[in-house]
Symmetry: C2
Subunit: 626 residues, 2 copies
């Protein structure tokens, strides 16, 4: 049941939250207060949106005006066929001038209890200038969230000579983190001087969702020692063939197939009972035999099972029995419906066999996306530390993997939809890794007709982004960004075309390295008179191999994180010749060749590919991971 | 000189703009009015930001409070060492409750007089929820601008049961279009019921910039008949060689070089006097000989001169003499510092010789970008109708070209910076073409410390985008979008990977074609049971050539504008085989193959390239022109 306005005020007061002075009157009672100016409002559960029906009058300066306002309101309600009776009351509240803020609580299906803060009044809905704060966020995370709103400028930089104390907002949010309600709007909350006063509120009582699943800690999943592949095949068109082929380069891998003798020069076991003890198993067997196989594997002391097999939730079939089996036998299950894992140099996927070692961890909810990225990486010579295709996440999920990852290298996530966002936040908060996320499905259908405005904000992409960003995770807007894990903050762009340099500079924005006067002078010594004299370093359309080289040697001595080397098909340009410098010279700064154009660039691209040098063909892709 | 508040009110009233009731008092005068509640403000040119120093008190309910407010204000000013005297006054104005809007006028260096409208009060600065309206915009364009703001929802969809009349805002903007001031802020302007009331204003008197350059009408520039190339060369590394080579396929082209006899089997004239009359000339000669050459060309009745030669403004040298020559000899000059033009099938550029005919017009301020796009188009078999590299635009500019283009095919512009934005708006307003613009240089340094908030908004990317969008032009955010001119509003995505389909759907957003129940049933007849049953049409990871073909044949019968055919490297996928369907079958709907992945896609890409079929390799690039 909804609480009435005066009940809400009392309840908020009991939670140490400021509310206005107020007095409640019966409809036929004579009105009068001693705290003008005031607002007059109807207290009734017959009306949901009071403002819309004229049941709120503000800025009443004195008693005669108050009495007139009451008569007019009752008359106006009557005209709209809203019939009030002795159950209904009128409330007179003190007016509070100041800046209107918004606070809310929502219980989200994915993230549980979430606090919402932002601009109040009509601007909450018009501008959606709000941020989202997890109920478990600490001070620093709360502040990070607050600064995602535009209204936060009042607290951070100040505005028109006034600066408000951000701790006011932090304190209020921390009070709300403790409240146990289902949904709540506090709007507006008036900021004036050093006080926040809730002048209007809507509360839906009920319990907060409790998110109870324990996060797993299973570091062994990243260091499989003895591995069984169940369901290998000698037929090239079968997944069991590709799995066996990719895994066969590893020593302690055991193949199982009831009908085979050997494969890739290796013995094939005809049943699981014959196997030695193993710690990790990969299943590429029909869905209906999994129930039999898991107990057999448990008898072999298996701890981790990767279920490649598809045809479960994604095909409309039940998969909860897998979770039950995992609990019964104390086994961690990755999948089902995944392409496998690559870890510790061991390729237990049926994707490309050509995976280079590297420092990037990629955990993906889509097998197809991970296959595509692996295929792209193979061509471009990009390496990985771990690749985990998590599939339907019936057991092991992103939070478990992040929590269990023993290193501190960057982790990139491809996320479609998750059921336990709270745990993901918890895991990211504890992680030592830099975490970057691409989220597919931004335009999901919003919940309709929620009780509160806050309720309407649940389940949307903005909430996902907001909560994740506040934990320190970064959100990518290009899926190809998942291939990389560079941390670049000072970038130099060198170009033989001003226009391309300008576009690149727009894309890099605040990560562009600021050249010092001394650095500009140094570049001036090797560049023609009319070079750009700033970054982007435009070395002019007739730039040759020698000019690129000289400029790069100078820039390499600066303190930049990376250099984008733009080459466009100008008349005097020999792109292949220029690209030789990436083959012939070693630079200490990370170099990204960006070859813009088509036909004229082909020979240069071939040269770089032959030499396993990674390049970009397009400006937006070149910045996809920044 | 700035006007005082009461002077502004009187002046606004004379312009039929509503202002509050007010009364001005001397500092020592006894105060009292008959229109409470009121605001009390200092009228003084000693204070610029009145609110910041406490020289504004609002919501005063009665005379005793007013008198107290006066005493406190004067005391407070004194404490801040602001010493008022008999020149200063106090003004009491009636309070107006309602929604705070913002109106302003700015004189922009590029666009001349521009009106700004948006959210008022503190939100003008915090949210920058404003739109920009050209002083010459008509009703429809004004409304298009207004709806670019979020506050416009009050007028379009209504908000919390109330809908305001947009004509109120349109009328106000039309009044402002007539005012001759240098800068002005009206903030806030209170919207209440059917009235707009300006309650605070700052005005800087002065003249509006008058933008006077006449737009040229020169359709002949798109139909050169007899063409002279001045400065052809036999040396491959010279621009004059490439120009001559590209042009030599055309019949009525005449080559000029003082030292050559023939080139590409064609006579070379040794001086201009020997030439027959020509209408168009291309100059690839040293900058210092141009002054001599132009009169000689004028004697040959030349109307249009394309100056390829660089080393002018972009190299810090004067080029205004070129404009003088163009006026003296009634000649239209394109350039200098450009790569030439392609028009009417005649290639007068020194870019690639491989230009396919098509329906897209590309006018570009950067020669390098146009060269890059031409090179890309050559590889991908994308055609053009006209390509004009406008260079430094000493004479002919974008507005002239749009005004002179005789057709109605789409025009794409690559814009870096323009000096006469007003003319561009005028030309676009009159044009029959669909116009799309990519603007480089988004983060240009804003004007600092302007008189008004409006002033601070001048010269920014948002103003450029806002003004251009309101004329109907579209703004691209990826430069590669300039290659295309499709008009697609109903798009189907077919995919063998759900994740890729979801990302594509996020990118296409509201242009995604909505499948009818009947269409879903038709697709169901040829697809496996667990296909997605909506658009994106996910035909599942094991999709073969046959399944793609059957699905595409069905979709081809729908009423979609285009089909993106996503192919990802799944285990069962043979991308090259699937791509054969683009070679072997004709579809009525436009097809865009999107080949995601790396190594596994190479053979398929080769097949499409051999067959001159255009494809994309990346999702964001595939939607760059939408």
């Amino acid at each position: 049941m909804r609480m009435l306005e005066n009940e809400i005020y009392e309840w908020l007061k009991s939670c140490q939250i400021n509310t206005p002075q107020y007095k409640v009157f019966k409809l036929n009672e004579d009105m009068g207060v001693d705290f003008y100016p005031v607002a007059l409002k109807l207290v009734s559960d017959k009306v949901v949106h009071k403002t819309d029906v004229g049941a709120v009058v503000i800025n009443i300066p004195d008693e005669p005006t108050l009495k007139r306002a009451k008569r007019e309101m009752l008359c106006h309600l009557c005209e709209q066929n809203i019939h009030v009776d002795e159950e209904d009351k009128l409330i007179v509240t003190s007016m509070h001038a100041g800046i209107e803020l918004f606070f809310g609580i929502v219980n989200d299906a994915c993230f549980g209890k979430v606090i919402v803060f932002g601009s109040g009044g009509i601007f909450t809905e018009l501008f959606k200038d709000v941020c989202f704060i997890d109920s478990e966020a600490g001070d620093e995370e709360i502040k990070k969230a607050i600064t995602q709103t535009k209204i936060s400028r009042l607290f951070t930089k100040g505005f028109r000579g006034k600066k408000y104390n951000i701790e006011l907002v932090v304190d209020m949010i921390k009070k709300l983190q403790q409240l146990d309600v289902e949904e709540m709007d506090l709007n507006p909350v008036i900021l004036s001087g050093n006080t926040l006063t809730v002048v209007d509120a809507r509360v839906k009582q009920g319990r907060s969702n409790i998110v109870s699943k324990q996060i797993k800690y299973i570091p062994g999943i990243f260091s499989p020692q003895k591995i069984a592949i169940i369901g290998v095949s000698e037929y090239e068109e079968k997944i069991g063939y590709a799995l066996a082929k990719n895994a066969s380069v590893h020593n302690e891998v055991y193949f199982v197939n009831p009908h085979l003798k050997d494969l890739f020069g290796r013995k094939v076991y005809n049943n699981i009972n014959e196997l030695p003890d193993v710690d990790t198993a990969v299943l590429a067997i029909p869905a209906n035999s999994i129930t039999d196989v898991i107990p057999q594997l448990a008898a072999k002391k298996v701890k981790h099972i990767i279920i490649i097999t598809a045809g479960f939730k994604e095909a409309g079939r039940d998969e909860s029995f897998l979770k039950d089996l995992s609990e019964k036998f104390h086994i961690n299950i990755i999948g089902p419906n995944c392409i496998g894992i690559y870890t510790n140099g061991i390729n237990l996927t049926f994707g490309t066999s050509d995976i280079q070692p590297g420092k990037t961890n990629l955990f993906s909810q889509s097998g197809a996306i991970v296959a595509e990225l692996m295929d792209k990486a193979a061509l471009q010579n990009i390496g990985f530390e771990n690749i985990i295709s998590v599939g339907n996440m019936v057991d092991v999920d992103f939070a478990d993997l992040i929590n269990s990852y023993p290193g501190d290298d960057p982790i990139n996530l491809y996320v479609e939809g998750i059921s336990n966002g709270k745990n993901l936040l918890r895991a990211i908060r504890k992680s030592k890794s830099r975490i970057r996320i691409f989220k597919a499905g931004k335009t999901g259908v919003a919940r309709k007709a929620a009780f509160s405005h806050t309720g309407n904000m649940a389940g949307n992409y903005e909430m996902f982004v907001g909560l994740l960003k506040s934990t320190g995770a970064e959100i990518l807007d290009n899926v190809n960004g998942l291939l990389y894990s560079y941390s670049l903050n000072k970038i130099v762009v060198i170009t033989n075309a001003g226009g391309a340099g300008t576009i690149m500079s727009d894309l890099i924005s605040d990560k562009i390295y600021k050249l010092s006067l001394d650095e500009i002078a140094k570049l001036g010594e090797v560049l023609p008179k009319h070079w750009s004299k700033n970054n982007p370093v435009d070395i002019i359309g007739d730039a040759s191999y020698e000019r690129y080289l000289k400029a790069l040697e100078v820039i390499d001595s600066f303190n930049a994180d990376a250099i984008y080397v733009l080459i466009t098909p100008q008349f005097m340009t020999n792109p292949r010749q220029i690209c030789k410098l990436f083959v012939e010279h070693n630079f200490k700064t990370k170099m990204f060749p960006v070859l813009l154009g088509g036909e004229m660039m082909q020979a240069a691209k071939n040269l770089l590919e032959e030499n396993k040098i990674h390049y970009f063909e397009e400006l937006t892709e070149a910045v996809s991971f920044l």
